[in-house]
Amino acid sequence: MSAEAAHIHEQAYNGAPRILDREPLVLNKRSYSWITNRVCGIVENKQPLLWWILFVPSVLLTGLTAFCFAYLISTGVGVWGQKQPVAWAWDITNFVFWIGIGHAGTLISAILFLTRQKWRTSVNRAAEAMTIFAVMCAGLFPAFHVGRVWMVWFLAPVPNANAIWQNFKSPLLWDVFAVSTYFSVSLVFWYLGLVPDLATLRDRCKPGLRKALYGIFALGWRGANRHWSHYETAYMLLAALSTPLVLSVHSVVSFDFATSVVPGWHTTIFPPYFVAGAIFGGFAMVLTLMIPVSKIYGLGDLITPKHIDNMAKIILLTGTIVGYAYSMEFFVAYYSANKFELQTFMLRGLYGPSTWAYYFMFGFNVFAPQLFWYRPFRHNMWVVMFVCMCVNAGMWFERYVIIATTLERHLTPGSWRTYEATWVDKYTFLGTFGLFMMLFLLFLRFLPVIAIGEVKGVLPQSDPHHHDHGKEGVQEEDLMGYPDRHVPREAAAAA
């Protein structure tokens, strides 16, 4: 037993708690300039072949969505599969699906910031970009769902020609306000975070158009502490504003359903259930994007197994909350003694026309994430990617089950009709993945995918008191006033 190990042993017997190092957030003790070079290099160097292999189909798929919408406008809403009583189907499903994806970005950028989770710095930039692109995809569907898309300005709070104002008591209008606020605030938050990194790109460029453009958007940033001081306050304020905002957005989306009197929709569990589901689905999408980005661009020292592990745990937690909500919905339907409510759930889960969707939803969302109880699975990228793909699909099925299958069986058999999606529905949705990927790939091409300044700020050498107490890899607040109880990681492993 080494001297250090003996020391730990002795401490354990004295009952004094040991203070271990935290796992490093950046591996291999990378320097500031290594981080700058590695992240800016993605933007400055030629893109790998894979980038083009993904980009070209993404553009084509975006064109497919544009074509489908053009066909819809020129022909009429009948090209979609909606018929009474299923008036909300794939379009609203896709809207809720995409808007939910965005929520993980805000969770990472705002809630994890307020709770001082420093590991967020490696993933927040890409997650926020994902939020913005997902909300853009989401916004398309309700805009075209209104039927006559050229009338979409009726949603804005301005009176129409007959001086009739919008109905502000309607959850649909709340949704307009919630989603547009969410998009605007997310964009402000993302841009504000980008400013110091745009300055880094500006300072590395040769004079020319690129330098001019980065320079304009960097606003003349010069890293002054009198600026940082206001900037950090602003960042904190935006995080504090985004936190209730993100919870409100999916709550308001759930009000679209919950405030109606349709059996299966009219439930008080919807807001928390929708928010948990949104965060769940969003984290799966973050991992779906970040694991390949990390591998392709060699960012393994910045997006470490620790980051993936943390996100997998959040997926496990929120997936289990979602599973609880599914079960509780069923229980409440039974316990309410309302036969229409109970029938809706029996049709969803046991003998309706679309029970297959219910089983996909339950299997993908509740059972697949349970793999993450085991640490080796959280550290195997193939397993993580597999589960994330399941969750991505499962969350779409969840919205489909809630929206379309509920409407298929109304109160009386006279208004029953099984919904079938048309090719326009399917290709429009497929195309939005192209739009999402295209925007994300352009983001990789032109903007720093990792928040350079923020990652530098969490390195151990960025703590001004780091050298004062001579402890590597441990921060002053972690020692809680007991510097003698600190045990280096290697020594702890040896013991």
């Binding site: 500031y32 300039s33 700058t36 009176p159 001086a163 009739i164 104002w165 919008q166 109905n167 502000f168 008591k169 309607s170 209008l173 709340w174 306000f177 919630a178 606020t181 605007s184 605030v185 402000v188 938050f189 504000l192 110091p196 880094t200 300072d203 590395r204 320079g215 304009i216 606003l219 003349g220 940033w221 010069r222 890293g223 002054a224 502490n225 009198r226 940082w228 001081s229 206001h230 900037y231 950090e232 306050t233 602003a234 304020l237 935006l238 504003l241 209730p244 409100s248 308001v252 009000f255 300044g453 923020e454 530098k456 700020g457 050498q461 960025s462 001004p464 008191h465 780091h466 050298h467």
Partner: protein
């Protein structure tokens, strides 16, 4: 062609965060006012080392947020209810050419208020966020694309791994010799007199 030049100040580089932190404490104690440190990321505790006061941004944002709440309240009550008439300000509704929207069997008086909460909440957040953005820019004095510091060749390092202190010439305690000596004493490297072209 001769160019007129004006001294902007002295720029000195420091080795790392800890050096910069201790240097800032000493510049503060020497009594300088118009000076700043430049770093690639915000440094924990630097405001204390520099003797800065807290940002007033939260106060601005509070006012912005409350404006949002009031706008949403007015917008909704004016276009959906009789509230303004009931408190004797019916002319507002005449002026805006609005009248109560009678739908959903909801009352047209102030008791419809709960249905207005979501929009009031969203506009509070929206106005607060934009106040944060524009308030921040105003407090920082940005965007300002030209700045004398950008003339310095070494200054571009601030956005990578450079840590700088800049003491400006407009500080009352500034003197070409005294300030330079102070920067040398506290461990500054690559001390440079930054000049602004007029």
């Amino acid at each position: 062609m001769s160019t007129l030049k004006r001294v902007h100040g002295y720029l000195a580089e420091f080795d790392g965060v800890a050096d910069l932190y201790h240097a800032a404490e000493q510049v503060r104690d020497a009594g300088y006012q118009r000076w700043d440190v430049h770093s690639p990321f915000p440094i924990h505790g630097m405001d204390k080392a520099m003797g800065n006061s807290k940002s007033i941004l939260p106060k601005l944002v509070f006012v912005g947020g409350m404006t949002g709440t009031c706008v949403a309240f007015t917008l909704q009550t004016l276009t959906q209810t009789n509230f303004w008439s009931s408190i004797g300000l019916g002319f507002l509704q005449k002026l805006a050419e609005t009248y109560p929207t009678v739908v959903q069997a909801k009352p047209t008086d102030i008791f419809t208020l709960p249905a207005f909460f979501p929009v009031m909440f969203e506009l509070t957040i929206l106005f607060s966020a934009f106040t944060t953005l524009f308030g921040l820019l105003a407090l920082m004095g940005l965007p300002r694309w030209n700045h004398p510091l950008f003339v310095s060749k070494q200054f571009a390092k601030f956005s990578d791994d450079g840590f700088f202190v800049c003491i400006e010439a407009r500080d009352p305690k500034f003197s070409q010799e005294g300030t330079k000596a102070l920067l040398e004493k506290i461990g500054g490297k690559n001390i440079e007199l930054v000049e602004d072209e007029l």
